[in-house]
Amino acid sequence: MNVSYKTTGPTSFCLTEFVPAGFRRGLITFGMLSKIMVPVFVVVYLLKQTPFFDQIASFFRPYMGILGRPGDVALAMVVGSLVNLYSAIAVLAPLELSWQLTVASIFLGVFHSHLMEGAIMYKMKTRFLTIALLRLAVGFLLTWGMKLSLL
């Protein structure tokens, strides 16, 4: 057996050993996560009170045709990629799209919640901008492929 465990001494399978150890790691991690996530929650809440998202959406609206989506999806895409999927779905649900809904949601599925996930990735010490660009590229590729195959 590979004993690569090196923090709490000898490897033990006793309930009273690994349960507290796991709890301790969980608590430490929860502390680290809340230090990132709580500030982001507050910032997102404040931004939602301002017309910030609407302005970005109106900038992107004319380009939506390229990906075969009506202009109204722009707001859903901006809110979804910055805030989270729940707010994007709140925008998408009343629009009554057919196949365009699937096309829009595959993009959102790949590229979403960047305020929160960027903060987490930053904490993980990986290049979150590189990852965000990769996700954007993959999102566009998938959207484009799906547009071609569904049309």
Partner: protein, 135 residues
């Protein structure tokens, strides 16, 4: 935040047990073909599965813990982050979109395939490259 707290504690207890048992070695062998375990390194497989099922917050939490204990380093962290960036919480997200009328399979399969392919291609880059881009 309460939801995260409730999920993350049992997750870490299971993680602790699984690491001590050496289940990851076995799992790494089983999933080798699909998850490119050679590139991911075995300690990052459990965070990966957690991320796939629960979300990037939990997965990142476990990776944070792993990097804190210095068990996994630049390249596997980056690859897991890319994989999960493209493809995470696959069940909940997909169900959300299915609920408003999108096609579930068309959402799920392209994401999984795209994530595997991108990570597979990135895996060919040498480790020195990852040492450089590590923020």
């Amino acid at each position: 935040m309460l939801k995260i707290f409730i999920i993350i504690l049992p997750l870490f207890v299971v993680f602790e047990y699984v690491q001590r048992r050496g289940v990851l070695d076995w799992l790494g062998g089983q999933l080798g073909g699909n998850f490119h375990a050679q590139r991911f390194k075995k300690d990052s497989i459990f965070p990966l599965l957690a991320g796939l099922c629960f979300g990037i917050g939990y997965e990142a939490g476990m990776l944070l813990d792993e990097t804190r204990l210095e068990r996994i380093e630049g390249k596997p962290t980056f690859l897991v982050a890319v994989y999960l960036g493209i493809c995470h919480v696959v069940f909940e997200d997909t169900l959300l979109f299915v609920a408003i009328g999108a096609s579930g399979l068309l959402l799920l399969i392209p994401r999984l395939v795209a994530a595997s392919k991108v990570v597979y291609l990135l895996g060919f880059l040498p480790s020195q490259f990852y040492a450089k881009i590590r923020g």
